[in-house]
Symmetry: C2
Subunit: 171 residues, 2 copies
């Protein structure tokens, strides 16, 4: 997937000084590159039983929504606190400074369903770990975690140990 890397733009000092942000918008702007990412995901999971795809707000919505239609499965939006309107389960997770909370509608997954979690980026794995908890609280199963980009040096895999993880690009 080396050739897809040219569509990932380094933005220094975002969101704060010293951090180099991996900007995936050039990949989205390019029809072939975006479609290729979705095809790589679809091919990777075509032989598995996947009942739902869960996308993490906001960039996970772009890839997760596209993959859901491509694979013909339902889509579950996992949102930040206070955004979902109906009855929810929620899960707190720790940030570098402070805490945050993500939520999912209680009817988003059924007991025993196999859920593929999709996001643009695996960094420390904190958010994704909380998403797995949400899904398991509803007695569904996390089939796999799929990322467009993984930042290997942040050791997100360590935090998500024991889970199946697939990333298209590694930095």
């Amino acid at each position: 997937m080396q050739d897809l890397k040219k569509f990932i733009r380094d933005v220094p000092d975002f969101p704060k000084p010293g951090i180099v942000f991996k900007d995936i918008t050039p990949l989205l702007h390019n029809a072939e590159a975006f479609a290729r990412v979705i095809k790589v995901f679809a091919d990777r999971y075509s032989a598995e039983k996947i009942d739902k795809i869960a996308g993490i707000e906001s960039r996970g919505f772009i890839f997760g929504g596209a993959l859901s239609v491509q694979m013909g499965v339902g889509f579950v939006p996992i949102r930040k606190h206070g955004k979902l309107p109906w009855t929810k389960v929620s899960e707190e997770y720790v940030l570098e400074y402070g805490k945050d909370r993500i939520e999912m509608h209680v009817d988003a997954v059924s007991a025993g369903e196999r859920v593929l979690v999709v996001d643009d980026l695996l960094a420390t794995g904190g958010t994704c770990g909380a998403v797995c908890q949400l899904i398991e609280k509803r007695k569904a199963l996390v089939a796999s975690l799929a990322f467009v980009v993984e930042l290997d040096f942040l050791n997100g895999r360590e935090k998500l140990k024991g889970r199946d993880i697939f990333s298209i690009m590694h930095f």
Copy 2:
């Protein structure tokens, strides 16, 4: 599209007392309903020249991302203030109380490109009007505005007068 309406859930008093929120998550959860919405959009625009699809954060990302891959065109995320990392154009718009600001990367569209704007809901049309301004600031053209749901009683079409508007469901 009457049969798609059963996948839209009314949630009273969200986000505040007296407002009945149209919840599109049951539609997303259902693979056939979600795929059908994307097919209706794709069929509607198949005969038009569309160079880019712009999706409005956050629910517009789900539909816009899926439609981009289905139609084979690039995707442009339109985001709330401070979320995009690189060089941006921004546009302010008026809310019921106060103001907000949306942003787009300057390289998201090229001069003369025809852009289809996608969002889940047309309400007052304030946000969507600002999105059109953003696209036109970069000398691209707004080909059409596509919504899953339109709240007719809020007269968003009036604010967007002169623009091509397509909504799958009307309430």
